[in-house]
Amino acid sequence: MSTMKMNRRNFIKLAALTATSTALASCGAPATVSAPTQAPAANTPVPAATNAPAATTAPVENTPVPAPTQPPAKASVTLKWWDFPRSWAGAGSAEKPNAWNEDLVKQYTAENPNVTIEFTGVSWSDGPQKLDVALTADQGPDVMYGYPALFGKMLSLNVLQDITNYVSLMPKDDYNDFYEAGWKFVSNQGKIFGFPWYYGTEGEWAINTTIVKEAGAEDLLPKAPDFAWTPDQMLELYKKCTFKRANGDQVWGTVVYTSDPQGINLWPYWSFPYMYGAILYSEQDRKSDFGSEAGVKSFQLLYDLVNKYKVAPPGAAGLTSDNLNELWNRKQDTVRVSSGVEIMNGLKTAIEAGTIQAPFEVLPVLPPVEKGQQQKVSGAVGVMMVFAQKDSSKSDEVFKFAEWLTNAKNMEVFNQLSKLCARKSTTAKMSGDDPLTKWRIQYVLPNMASYSKAPEDIKIDDAWMQALQAMYDGKQTPEAAAKAFQDEANKLLQGA
């Protein structure tokens, strides 16, 4: 076999040839992503509401019967539908968490044979990351459920389709069947970006009444009919419910955590600014005054819960939602600041699964609010998101599918989770005289505070989280942290 003779000159020539090829290959057309196509024009027909034409009657006396014309064959369309596990829904189970979704796919494609639905089940933990990567690669879904924070993020990323024109063509009864607050939640600057689906109002707080009874503090619980209370009353309960058990377990009034991959996931703690009439920033004015008295007061209270009153565990700067869940499941956390009703409804399943041990009783209550301030419950409308469509030929089918998913019949699936969904008729049908649903409709829904939807929201929420961490880390006082957040938020909002 001959040996290869590669002298230095030849090697350099070959290397130069390779490097030039590399540079030329990489300097191709930039990977521009085209802007999403607009919503269809207003005269797009609404497919769902039309009735089939009446059958022609028998011809009368020699009148020629016109040859029946076939409706034009609909073009085949493939839709991508992503959803989280729904083990509680329909035929769903722990082993087959998306059985309900698969049933819906079969049903819809039977009714719409020109439509193929590619369903992808994603987990709660890494689904959002998977969505981020898919969107980056322009491989995102057409329709996907967005829990409130996820919807807010997608809105700020401007990847959702404006479906205002399509919704305007819905029959009025159908449109009005949705709660008005649900439409408000999915709207931004007068445009609609999804169908309300789940009306969770996750800002309801949860009190573990088993611990309250153990502490002998039942008289400190918020009372019916509204289950409203003030920050001072909240603090009294926390103090009474902070104790050490005989086995050495420390029980806390509440748990504060501020370590999360994304600041928006700390939305439950926005209840604290709401208590004093503060908000993170105003969408209308595009300005934050969080450094004012109300904002500082909320940060001071959050700080004092851990450091002064010691009713929350130390290390809030580094605690995560996993730490919170561990303490809650071990009955070492008395009050959670979100998802009161969902937690209560999920107790039976959690006890059967062994996640928590009976007895474990939960009372959903309103977030505390200072006298004279408006009650606000962090908004939670789960949304059937419609992603921006580059291919306008399939837009109609995408909208039609999303609308079908949120019709009154399909929303009855919530009977297995919570009686409250985004439609009034379905809620009324499912809840009947359920006192909990009545309470939510009367006291919670009217006070729902939507998430902010500014494009800078992701970074503003991160800045709020960092301000809290700096405060709990001892690097800033509550006042300085509130002011630092205000400055950062204004810098982002004003594009400085």
């Binding site: 992503v33 401007n158 501020t258 370590s259 700067a317 605690l319 991160d462 961490q469």
Partner: protein, 303 residues
């Protein structure tokens, strides 16, 4: 009229390629993979660093990302954390591996094999699994393993990951404890290549075990140690898993590392241009450190 001169590859080069065509054909697939998945993305990332790129559009912004980087305190903090992490993990980890290898070296072959396998086992377990175990070990309540052990001595729980003064050290420990298996195997292999007669001669001259180690073993395995230092440095500068799963970069940026910040900038804030700038700077820093260490490697050793 002057015509542009274009030189075709010389006949000798083409002849060489034709003569050894099969070699080049075999090299094409791995080279193509290197080109597509490494070289081209590096060049594209470099070009992206001059652009503002979101999910919807790109636009050329010149050096704006670079000026932003210079003024970004979080990036500086991330670099500092990464540098501290690397400065601790690389020498300490190498020293631990050396110590373990020196303990294992004199053992019989079967015992050596057992210990090599035992030390290397963590390397075949997914990093995510190991980090999740550490999450339980560091749990701040008294049922976290470390805090439980402290409670046996009536000590209060320690906030291993929740205290900004301890979090980086705790993160560093996850790499040092049980993470030296590969280095132990490398060092043992290098020790195995040292001629026995050197040790025999030294013993005849009355040398002790420690003198043998300092004057025979250590100098002769230095090239291996320096190789481990280079690879360890490159790896440590890219630390991510522990930060992502244990601390989210907190508390208060105490464990934010360079790669974590790049990930956050790109995949959570969707600022891909700015993330590319950070990646370029990190790339240059790693190259500089590697070049420096390689220069030290260039010394030759003779028996």
């Amino acid at each position: 009229m002057n015509s542009a001169k274009f030189h075709m590859p010389s006949h000798s080069l083409l002849r060489e390629i034709r003569k050894n065509l099969w070699i080049y054909l075999v090299l094409i697939p791995p080279f193509a993979l290197l080109l597509i998945f490494t070289l081209i993305p590096i060049v594209q990332s470099f070009l992206l660093s001059f652009k503002e790129w979101t999910l919807h559009s790109t636009r050329w912004i010149g050096l704006a990302n670079f000026t932003h980087l210079v003024a970004d305190p979080v990036f500086g903090k991330a670099l500092l954390n990464t540098a501290i992490y690397t400065a601790v993990v690389v020498p300490t980890g190498t020293a631990i591996a050396l110590f373990l290898a020196e303990l294992v070296r004199p053992q019989p072959a079967a015992v050596q094999t057992f210990f090599k396998s035992a030390f290397y086992l963590p390397a075949v377990v997914a990093a995510v699994v190991i980090v999740l175990v550490w999450r339980w070990i560091y749990n701040p309540a008294n049922y976290g393993l470390l805090n439980y052990l402290l409670s046996l001595f009536h000590k209060d729980p320690v906030l291993w990951l929740q205290d900004s003064r301890l979090a980086l050290a705790a993160l560093t420990a996850t790499s040092l404890v049980g993470g030296q298996g590969g280095a132990v195997v490398f060092i043992l292999a290098a020790m195995g290549g040292i001629p026995i007669h050197l040790y025999e001669s030294a013993r005849l001259d009355g040398s002790t075990r420690s003198k043998e180690f300092w004057y025979i073993t250590l100098p002769l395995i230095t090239p291996t140690l320096l190789y481990l230092a280079v690879m360890g440095t490159i790896g440590s500068f890219q630390v991510f898993t522990g930060t992502y799963l244990l601390t989210n970069g907190g508390p208060n940026y105490a464990t934010t590392t360079s790669v974590f910040y790049i990930y956050k900038t790109g995949f959570q804030h969707f600022e891909f241009g700015y993330a590319s700038v950070q990646a370029i700077v990190l790339f240059l820093i790693i190259m500089a450190c590697s070049a420096f260490l390689f220069k030290m490697l260039s010394e030759e050793f003779e028996y």
